[in-house]
Each structure stands twice: as C-alpha cells, then as structure tokens.
C-alpha cells in the first residue's frame, strides 16, 4: 500500500532537507524497512540526474593517494584479476565530466539544447555563485543558523532530559520509598534493590525515550544493565486492537534488528533483556518499536511499520546516589 507520509520522508531524505533527527529516523527505517528503501532508491533515481548540471572540480591529488593507501591491503593482487575491459589503467582514462576542451567551452550559451528556459535560467543563477566566491557571506549566514538551531536543540534536549530525569526520579523515589504503589512486577523483589548496598543501581541504567515527535514521548525504556532487566513504561502510545508493539535493538554490530520482545498492554512491562548484549552494544544501540500482528513479528525482523525510535542515554552520572541508605 502506498504510504504518502513515508514517500515524502524518502523524498526529503534524498533531497537533503531533513534535520539531523529526521535523518537519523530515516536512516533507521532504511536499515530494515524494504519498502522505505525502495522509495529512497526511486527518489534517488528521480532526482539524481540533477548531478549532471553540477560543475566538475578537480580534487587535490592527495585524495587519491590516501584512498589508495587505505584500500591497498584489501585489493586482490593484480595477477588474479582478469582485465575485463582490456583497457589501460587510470592515467589514460579521462574524467567522465572533465572540463570540456577550451574551444567547446567557449561556445555561446545559445548553442545549448535548453529543455526549459526557466529552469536553465535558475540554474545559471545558482551557478553564478560557485562556492569559491560565495563562501564568506554564505558562511556567516550559516553561522547564524547553526547558532539558532543549536539553541533550539539545546532547549529541546533540556526539555527532553528534564522529562526523563523527572520520570526516573519519580520511579527511583517511588521504588525506594513507597514500593507498594508500583505494579507488582516492578516492586523491588525482597528489597534486592536496596540490599546490594553498593549504590550502583542507578548507575547501570540506560534510558531511552521512544518517540515520533520530539514533544510526544510514546514509551520510556529503561535498561538496568546490571540486573539485565528492561522496563518499558507506556507514556502516550495507546494499545492497538489486534496488534502488538514489539521492541527492537538496532546496532551496527548486527546486520538486522534484534527483537527485545513484546511490549505488554499494561502501563509497565518488565522483562529480562534477552540475548547476551554487552554494555557498549546496549549503550550505542538505537531502540525502536514496531506495530506487529498480535504475538509479534512472524519473521523475526520488523514486519510492520516502525512507529517510534530513540537512543539510550545514561540515566544518571556515574556516582553513587542513594539517599535511602545514608
């Protein structure tokens, strides 16, 4: 089924107009959603031809020297490779878009087979300010934007962290002061949370806010890496009839997302962290929730839409914090 929203995301990803956050979301989708990947490839094909109109610029020779050095250990020795094209190597190969010979470049523009005057005029305007000459003024404009977007981002991050901190603080406080308020599964078992006496409980926590919009967290995921337990708190996501939410770990260390199990319909879900992921993997991973048929994805990788994504952050600074014990 054609998904307008998703196709626009793919188009803007290819065009390059997404923010860093949105690009991260698109890249996550790209890594495991074949329909999204197909949409991106199609947009690359639609828009990619625009590169033809970019002027070629000769890069410095050092670039090739560095690339060559990096691939040298990986290259197959020359003798083993059949010479497919039977042509001499690089030196003789002209750049595909190398500068045209002088006489050609001096042809009057009128000789151009212009497909559309308006577009051509626009492009001429664009190319009238190549980076070489436009850089200083553009750069100043860019700085202003960098600052503005940075300020916004910090503001947003501050709000986000504030929310996480508040929720976590409530959770920690409640679990230590009034455990009876928590659902049974989240109560400290036999006082275990207090009994270890090391104050390490909070340090080994990672928190991820899984969301679609920065302002509307859907799930709050907490990973207790020491006890290898994960908690999911439903914040704004509503249960969907005939569907289950499934939680995924996406890491560059694995070719495909790994399931962390289903998110229950209650406000809190607690379960052991499946698999044997080390702390660095858990810390560096992207977490996602997809909507699956009841009982979870039949294939072992997300089969339904990925609704929410988020990265884990350390819940608290790495210093013991245990007011209940002093």
């Amino acid at each position: 089924m054609f998904d307008e929203e998703q196709d626009t995301l793919a188009a803007e990803y290819v065009l390059g107009t997404l923010s860093a956050d949105e690009r991260g979301h698109a890249e996550a989708l790209l890594s495991f959603d074949p329909s999204f990947e197909a949409a991106v490839r199609q947009w690359e094909r639609r828009l990619g031809e625009l590169n033809v109109m970019v002027e070629a610029v000769e890069p410095p020779a050092e670039v090739w020297e560095r690339v060559k050095k990096e691939i040298a250990p990986l290259a197959v020795p020359v003798a083993e490779v059949p010479d497919i094209l039977g042509e001499p190597p690089l030196a003789a190969a002209p750049a595909i878009d190398a500068l045209p010979p002088r006489p050609e470049s001096e042809l009057p523009p009128a000789a151009a087979p212009a497909p559309d005057e308006a577009v051509r005029a626009l492009f001429t305007e664009l190319s009238a300010a190549p980076p070489a000459r436009a850089a200083p003024s553009l750069a100043r404009g860019a700085d202003v934007i960098y600052l503005a977007s940075r300020a916004q981002r910090w503001q947003r991050a501050a709000i986000g962290l504030g929310a996480i901190a508040a929720l976590l603080a409530i959770f920690v406080a409640v679990s230590q002061i009034a455990p009876d308020v928590l659902p049974g599964s989240l109560r400290p078992a036999g006082g275990a949370m207090r009994a270890d006496g090391t104050g390490r409980l909070q340090q080994d926590r990672l928190v991820a806010v899984l969301q679609q919009q920065p302002t509307a967290p859907a799930f709050l995921l907490t990973l207790d890496t020491q006890r290898r337990t994960l908690f999911v708190r439903r914040v704004s996501a509503m249960p969907e009839a005939n569907h289950s939410y499934e939680l995924w770990l996406i890491s560059s260390r694995f070719p495909a997302p790994r399931s962390l199990g289903l998110v229950g319909n209650d406000e809190f879900t607690q379960r052991a962290i499946p698999g044997n992921y080390d702390i660095d993997t858990l810390r560096g991973a992207l977490y996602a929730v997809s909507l699956e048929p009841t009982g979870g994805s039949p294939s072992g990788t997300p089969s339904g839409p990925v609704l929410f994504t988020g990265k884990a952050v350390e819940a608290l600074p790495a210093s013991p914090l245990n007011p209940a014990r002093t």
Binding site: R45, L50, V67, D83, A112, A118, V119, G141, D143, I145
Partner: protein, 181 residues
C-alpha cells in the same frame, strides 16, 4: 569518455577487489563527485575528507550496486551527498567555529555541463521541475545543490519554515506525479 556500460563494468570488477578498475573508476568520476561535495560542504578540506570516505564506501559496497536500479554516477553521487549532508547537519549541532578560510578552489570553475550531457532522464526531470512555480523550483534546486535543510532554506530565503515545508511537500508530490515512475 567512459560510457555508462563501461562504468558498470568497472564497478563489477571493483566488487571483486580489482584495484586497477577502482583507479579507473576514480579517474572517471572524481571531478563530478568533488564538484558536488564542494557545493554542499563549502570547504575543500571537508570535501577532501568526504571524498576519501565516499570512495572507501564505493570500494566496500561495489557488490551492492545494482545497474537495474541506478546509474553508476547517480549511485556514487548519492553516497557522497548523503555523507556530506550528514556532516553539515551534525556540524550545525556541535560547531560554531566554522568561519571558513578563503576557499582554495580555482576561480575559473567550468560552466555547468548541461549542454554536453543532457540525458533523457534529466530532460524529463527538468521538464517536470519547469512546471512548478518559480519559487518552488528554486527551493528544490537550492536544496539539492546546496544541501540546505528546511530551516536553512527558510532563513536564507526569508520564508517561514512551515511554508517551506508545505512547498517542498507539494513540489515533491508534483514531481512524482509528473515523472510517473
């Protein structure tokens, strides 16, 4: 000049670890990719870095290239642009020290290659772009060539970001419908 078929052949050889084919591929595509990167990144030292990353990625991913889905040059340009835009977006978050030094690029950059290299696909795309209002053409092309985000487009063109968002969305839908595929 290498034909598209020759570039496809080179990529197939690169996928098998053929360094000589890789060198020829580099020679045939370097100036185009560098031009694209320089436009987006603005600074030669950044463009150099991304060139290096891009070609390493091409070397490693050549076996993933599918000639039925993309032409070699658009595939490589997509890799380069993606990386460049990632960098520009991340810089916007973390860096304010970016007053670029004077650009070291030759001042006599060549004119656009439109005259010589107008492919059928490009003509079709331009015809569709030409149907958009001039302002919308402008934002689509500025976004593609300069790698600007919606926020940047809004700032630089002095248009509210929500308007940019709406225009982009409509323009992309129109392009999709006009191109048919």
């Amino acid at each position: 000049m290498l034909t598209q078929a020759e570039l496809v052949g080179l990529l197939a050889a690169v996928a098998k670890g053929d360094a000589a084919a890789f060198e020829r591929l580099y020679g045939a595509t370097r100036a185009k990719l560098y031009g694209v990167l320089l436009r987006i990144l603005g600074r030669p030292e950044l463009a150099d870095e991304v060139m290096q990353e891009t070609y390493l990625k091409v070397w490693k991913m050549a076996d993933k290239f599918n000639p039925a889905v993309a032409s070699p040059i658009t595939w490589m340009v997509a890799i380069a642009r993606n990386r460049a835009i990632d960098i520009v977006r991340k810089k916007a978050e973390i860096s304010i020290e970016d007053e670029p030094d004077a650009m070291g690029v030759a001042a006599d950059t060549p004119p656009p290659l439109a005259r010589r290299e107008m492919t059928e696909e490009l003509k079709r795309l331009l015809a569709c772009l030409g149907k958009l209002d001039p302002e919308k053409q402008r934002i689509v092309l500025l976004a593609y060539y300069s790698g600007w985000s919606r926020d940047q487009l809004a700032k630089k063109l002095d248009i509210p970001v929500n308007t940019i968002k709406t225009w982009l969305r409509r323009s992309l839908i129109e392009i999709r419908e006009c191109m048919g595929t």
